[in-house]
Symmetry: C2
Subunit: 256 residues, 2 copies
């Protein structure tokens, strides 16, 4: 009997038609049977949002042997929930999200719809990986990403991942041959310094755009920011137990 | 010279007019100067979403000595960003979020707008606490929550919190005198088993509501779920370093 091909769930946050997810789909089709469900519009910055106060639409875009593709009106996390609970015939062997147009390194993991989809896969006990390219350009070249996704996915399909852990993979925007390799890192300590860009509408009332500048406060050479700045692909293992276990004794002493 | 009163930022995800935030505001006014900025509509389940693809509106609702109140068209995390970067005269001494109408224990920390606001406060290096009552009723009684918030906030204003850690406080829906006390816990291992409730619109096309059943897989007596089931207030320290540090050696050996 022919061994069953791996079943792979693909999603993203830039929307089902983004070049990044097209690159990822191309690679995943060489690895197994693929189900794609991704937002029908850009959902960047949606974090771990789910749709509970409004309704969801699901639209089948394509179905052929070993491949099906859907769009969804909801968030990236909605897409994973819908795939697992409605569309997939069984629990998939892998969930991949991306390739995101733009970095999701360090604290961006928390704002990123791409990474939140991978985290949701992890909550569902599926080995899950988010891929991001450090370029926001629509014309970005995903060739290096495809080679990295190919390598990483082969290893994870062979070795799986520890329970409760998914991977945040960020790829510098340079040619594959210029990359130093893949580095396992910790999340750098960084945040955004926001700026609110105030404008006036035609009625003279104020409205705002949220913008900001990314600030890295971490000079550690074991961080994802260091790796990316030095032509390494960064891989951060991300877990879903948010408990700060090391602070429990301190808090117990505080006698709240 | 009169010592400066603490400056306290208050937000939530149920919206600025929800009874839960009104209860929290009442207590915070006894502790210091208060700035409230909360969503102008319910934002439950928004997780760590931020508004980057559309504009934001900010509306001043009240201003009096030591107190000001705003609504915002964005998410709970937007509210914290706007407060810190536009509305507050200095970094606040405390950020409190809630009181949420409904539990945010265990994995709900990741979907919760209430807790995401507290986490954002933590990213901004502000001691931050999310409060939730284990009742979804609009008529819920917040008397016990007010007493718990009073106790916890006094302790945190006096002792602060470790850098990079905020608190997830969940309060059983019983009278204050029936509570066993406050227990420092870890996040229970749990998730949601989703169900998609399919319906037909007047044109005969399908749409869906995301619903589900909460499943606790963790029988540990050191978890928040155990505490809440046994009439304790649960307090989980939540951190913003999502790196699964313990798995780095395993991943390094995998030679991605």
């Amino acid at each position: 009997m022919k061994p069953e091909r791996p079943l792979i769930l693909v999603t993203n946050d830039d929307g089902v038609h983004a070049p990044g997810i097209r690159a990822l789909i191309e690679v995943m089709k060489t690895k197994g049977d693929v189900l794609v469900i991704a937002p029908d519009k850009p959902q960047s910055g949606m974090g771990h949002a789910i749709t509970i106060n409004s309704t969801l639409r699901i639209n089948k875009l394509k179905e052929e042997e070993g491949y099906s593709e859907y769009s969804c009106s909801g968030t990236p996390v909605d897409c994973v929930k819908i795939a697992v609970n409605k569309l997939l015939p069984r629990k998939p062997d892998l969930c991949v999200s991306g390739v995101n147009h733009g970095s999701n390194s360090s604290i961006n993991v928390i704002y990123s719809g791409t990474m939140s989809a991978a985290v949701e896969g992890c909550i569902e006990s599926i080995p899950s990986i988010g891929f991001s390219l450090c370029s926001y350009s629509v014309d970005a070249n995903f060739d290096a990403c495809k080679k990295i996704a190919d390598r990483v996915v082969d290893k994870i399909l062979a070795n799986s991942l520890p329970e409760g852990v998914c991977l945040n993979v960020n790829i510098p925007n340079i040619e594959y041959d210029k990359l130093n390799g893949i580095k396992i890192c910790r999340q750098a300590k960084a945040n955004w310094e926001e700026e609110l860009d105030e404008r006036k509408d035609p009625m003279g009332n104020s409205y705002f755009w949220l913008t900001g500048v990314f600030k890295n406060y971490d000079s550690g050479i074991d961080t994802d920011e260091w790796a990316l700045a030095n032509q390494w692909v960064s891989v951060v293992p991300v877990h879903i137990d948010f408990t700060a276990h090391h602070t429990i004794p301190f808090l117990k002493k505080m006698e709240l």
